[in-house]
Amino acid sequence: MSAPTRNPELVVDGFPPRRARWVQLATSADHKDLGRILIAGALGFLFMAVVELLLMRLQLAVPENTFMPPVTFNRILSLYGATAIFLFALPLALGFFYYVTPLQIGARGTALPRLGQTGTWLFIAGAAVLYTTFLFTPPEAGVNPLPPLSGLAFLADNGVDAWLAATGLATLGFVLIAIDLVATLRRLRAPGMAWRRLPVFSWAAAISSWLLLVIGPVMLAAITMLMVDRNFEGIFFAGDAGGSPLLWQHLSWIFYSGAYMLILIFALGAIAEIVPALARKPLFNRNAVIGSLVAIAVLGTLAWMQNMYTAPIGLGWMYFAMIMSLALIVPFGLIFFNLIATLSGGAARMRAPLLFAAGAIAAIAIGLAAELEHSMVAVGWRLQHTTDSTAATHFALVGGAVLGGFAALHWWFPKMTGRTMGETLARISFWTIVLGILVAFVPLFLAGGEKGQVIDAYKFFAGEGLDAYNLIATIGAFVLAAGIVLGLLNAILSREGGRPAGHDAWGADSLEWFALSPPEPHNFDLLPDVRSPRPMRDIRLAIAHRSAREDQPAREHQPVA
């Protein structure tokens, strides 16, 4: 079937002359343009994060290295954390949600496009603030700048202020985009697109947006308090003046835990679109997967104190966090079970998106299994703050945001550009990334779990059995970087040079494949009535049915009755 083409009758005179392409893009409030800005920006910052990771791994290649002074290491570490979370993983997830969701629900745009536009450019502004700190003083308070270290008394230069401004702008932007997505999902679904028929990825967008509406303001509050502390003599986090340094830990860990879950919800939502389509079977049980995604958002965020087992909080709170963390076994397990059950009995076409999806499932499973161990209170006392936790987080988040993100990228790339990403390069980059993850992070599991190597340190000492682990991890980081760069290169090359994909590139069931590739500015000329969770399949079947009746040839522009 070829999707509907432009109706010649609709051509009118008097369109304003087209502006230059970059002006068009920079002033657009169209969700597809903004989604592409978010995705392209996120992938650019993925490259920056990789460069920063390599610099840190170079410093940690050999014991007591003097490649860079400690202050430089701390600055790169701080930039790496902010880049990986605020400038790569979250905008990548939101970019895909923002691009795909209106198409999936059959909307002609978003409900509050100016809000989404503001949000996107706030993210760009935050990124600009963070990276212009190279001109003065980059932040050096670490991945999570805990007060009092991030207070004025200990870091008096502008670095921490820049970190706060940057992450604050980006977080505010994400919240605005989330508001737009919530409104769009509530108000602009096509006729018949009931919640029970909503594609899983759109459900993931809805859950993530609601989650951001909860955790985003929490982080913004924490950022504001620290700004007040630093610049207006506030005492929110001053332990000796009636405040509490632990307050920052609670607020920031609520955000980070929720963001962690958001990234996994995004990855699993995308995988739950890819797996059924490429196995040519419906998802084994939609309701279980959607319910599990909701449970992950709630339980995962409530488990924030899992990161505070070493802090002076009551044991009861730690048990509360542990119960929430261990309860996550059920929803995550159910999602994995349903994905595997979908593949079982299917006829899987092993294209790049499915390959990346399978890799993401494996990496996320390892990372989450390790996180499970960290959530057991007494084990947390031993393993937290070691490279073992670095490895667990990286397995889950590189699995979710890089492998899962690349799965989503390969999947929707044909829709965004009209071209398929090169399959050979995709396979090479996939296996390189998988090899890189294993070689880079398995040694860190061992160095942290067996030898207790601490996190965030700019050097380690010889004679403590850490040399080999760290050297191998550095080599692995380079392999991982090569794989990621190959994947990014593939995307750049395929924009112009990829094989033309057609409108219905994969034979998937959701409505974004009913639009042109790339979609028209208004997304759809006409929309079918949605009668099931698999509207595109209904359309294909109806067309096949009509074509079979030879007396009446298929007509393309008609909504399917």
């Binding site: 400690p70 202050v71 701390n74 670490g142 805990l146 009092p148 270290l149 332990g239 632990l246 079977k281 419906p282 084994f284 049980n285 939609r286 309701n287 070493t310 802090a311 002076p312 044991l315 048990y319 542990m322 119960i323 261990l326 076994i329 059920v330 397990g333 159910l334 994995f336 079970f337 349903n338 595997i340 593949l343 079982s344 009995g345 006829a347 899987a348 076409r349 092993m350 499932i361 494996a362 499973a365 390892i366 299994a369 390790a370 499970l372 057991m376 209170v377 007494a378 084990v379 006392w381 031993r382 393993l383 703050h385 070691t386 030898k451 207790g452 996190i455 965030d456 340190a457 380690f460």
Partner: protein, 232 residues
Amino acid sequence: MTPHSPGTDQIDTLLWIGFAAAAILAIAVIGGLLVVLARNRGERGAEPRQVSGGPGIQLRVGGALGIFALAVLVLSIVFTDRAREAPATGPAGLEVAGGEPLQIKTTGQQWLWRYEYPDEAFSYYRLVVPVDTEVELDLVSTDVVHTWDVPDLAPKVDAVPGKTHKVVFRADEEGTYTGQAATLSGQAYAAMRTAVEVVSPQQYEAFVESQKEEIQAAQDRVVKLIENGEVP
């Protein structure tokens, strides 16, 4: 890393239980995925049967996972409680008046650990404790958050300004155990290390005496310097 206290013994056991649980889950997911992917390929041909599962199997799988999680939870609570149990001073240990633990005030500061013993003695970097004795560290911080971590002897604990955080342990064997601060605390964070020397009660008392004498001697020297006008 080998545990040398009753608490870290329990932590070590729970670590291996957790490792087994994590390995079971990860292997189940990855194994299932690989088997299913290997068996169900097909580039073209007829569409496979469009089957999906009802709520029954979801309840069964979810229930099984729930029971697994509950078992892990119960084991975690049992071993965590055992790991926290205050270990009583043994026969080879130092008798402290009133059966109290030996309290040592531990102060984290950029980028050193300071240990204050009951009799006015103190030491930096090196903590000396008697073997087989219940030791309580009262952790405070004078500046930023530090994490005290000597994994062979005790759980990790944060020293947070404005709060006192207690950790109790009993070292079972004489020897030197090293540790390193585990929360980023600024530029010299990686060098903020500590060593716990576990010695016999007699050696401990001798150490405290010699520390006191040295501190006294150093103070006397300072007083003399000031009296002689060599220091303003």
